[in-house]
Symmetry: C2
DNA sequence: AGAATGTTGTTTATCTTGTAAACACCATCT
DNA sequence: AGATGGTGTTTACAAGATAAACAACATTCT
């Protein structure tokens, strides 16, 4: 049994990356420093360099680690009942990935920043591609689909419209007054917000991220399936007059 | 006429941000330092701090600046001919944004990293929302649509599948051999690549980013329009059996 | 005009962070 | 036992952001 003095378990690349994951959970990727990771392992910062080439390498490994988790989660899934349409299979896969990703708020950004294309990422895309192939999609269509899904393929949608209320209490009153001030400058947004806020159908006061995610995912899967059924990778005939 | 000694034009926040944009064009956002920006203005680094609070503030301003350019470009667009479907109008807007964004390779990542929600961003989304409203979309649908489009709304699709060949020459021969080595581990990806590479229909050896972008965009617009026509924001009836 | 004041860029200094280099400790092999 | 190799530590430094004091000019007030 390998032991370093004082009975400490020996450092390994895996333990280093795991510690980095903990640190990221605690303070985010931005504030992650080599010293913080080392501290968590009760070790000096320089010790990490025996196991990772440099910080970049560590972050890459961290991103890959997350993808590993996605693959783990996907492997847990029961095989689909016979006759299940491929869209449902893909959908479930992506949603499971999302569950995992949401446990690490920093993960989407990190994975995206470092265009990680390691074994874990390849495995993920390979399995997802296989689902589409099995569903009868052509190679071209599978390819397009992977691009179209983008980060959604791993359960995350990069968006700007994160209108998550910032800090201060938003008690409807105050918000509406702020809104009316904006209504001349941004009439469409104001209208959108006002009408949505009006009927309380939305689960959470504002945007139900999960619902929005599924909305976009379903449109994409639906569109891909239509193209498959139409037998090509162009738009299905009788579509809505897009792509002039 | 305000003049500093030696006849240098005075620094302004705008000039600082413009310089930062130049530096970013030259070396990317990652390597952008305050000193580099200062150098470009023939000034000491600390001088910048009279005009921006700190580096974060500068980067935020830089992101907003890009969005300003999108708005400029959109303002150039001729009004749509009467009777043009809203999808075509939205499509053109988004594609114009893309043209602008592609002039600054660093822009997408930057804009995404800092969830910029300044005036320029609001203007962009307000104008785009207005297009959907005019097309007859409900407030709910507009809202969903903005989320579904995600970064695509500003002409950029965050994706992982950036299989841009890395550096070395890929002369088909060598690539295929590498592929066959992978074919056991990643059969679906291998199949996809092989079949696509086979017919040379793809413009650039690999992925035509523009085509992929439009593919995804069209699916989304099409799906949104179908939901509008169906009169709700749920999936249109008679769809393909998604969303169980 | 001349002094007070404000503005804007400069100098100097500090703190954080990544990482190289040399070193120290321990285990195993000869 | 002595050599060797792997692993963590200490020391040291360079890059970069930024605070603080300062300098030079412009503007304003008397």
């Amino acid at each position: 049994m390998p032991r370093t003095r004082a009975g400490r378990a020996p450092l390994t690349r895996d333990r280093v990356v795991a510690a980095a994951s903990d640190v990221a959970d605690a303070v985010g990727t931005q504030r992650l420093t080599m010293r913080l990771v080392a501290d968590r392992l009760d070790v000096e910062a320089m010790a990490l360099y025996r196991h990772v080439a440099d910080k970049d390498d560590l972050l890459d490994a961290l991103a890959e680690r997350v993808l590993d988790r996605l693959n783990d989660a996907a492997a847990q899934l029961p095989g689909p009942a016979p006759g299940t349409p491929w869209t449902a299979v893909a959908r479930e896969r992506v949603l499971v990935a999302r569950e995992v990703l949401l446990r690490h708020p920093w993960a989407p950004r990190l994975v995206h920043e470092r265009g990680t294309m390691g074994p874990a990422t390849l495995r993920w895309f390979d399995d997802l591609s296989a689902v589409l192939f099995t569903g009868g999609c052509s190679a071209d269509l599978v390819h397009h689909a992977m691009h179209a899904l983008g980060t959604r393929a791993i359960g995350y949608n990069a968006e700007l419209l994160d209108v998550t209320p910032t800090g201060a209490e938003q008690d409807g009153e105050e918000m509406l007054s702020a809104m009316s001030a904006m209504s001349e400058t941004y009439p469409a947004i104001t209208r959108m917000v006002a009408e949505i806020a009006h009927d309380a159908s939305t689960t959470l006061g504002w945007c139900d991220d999960q619902a929005e995610f599924e909305f976009g995912l379903d449109i994409l899967l639906e569109g891909i399936e239509r193209r498959r059924a139409a037998g090509g990778d162009g738009p299905p005939s009788g579509a809505t007059g897009l792509s002039p």
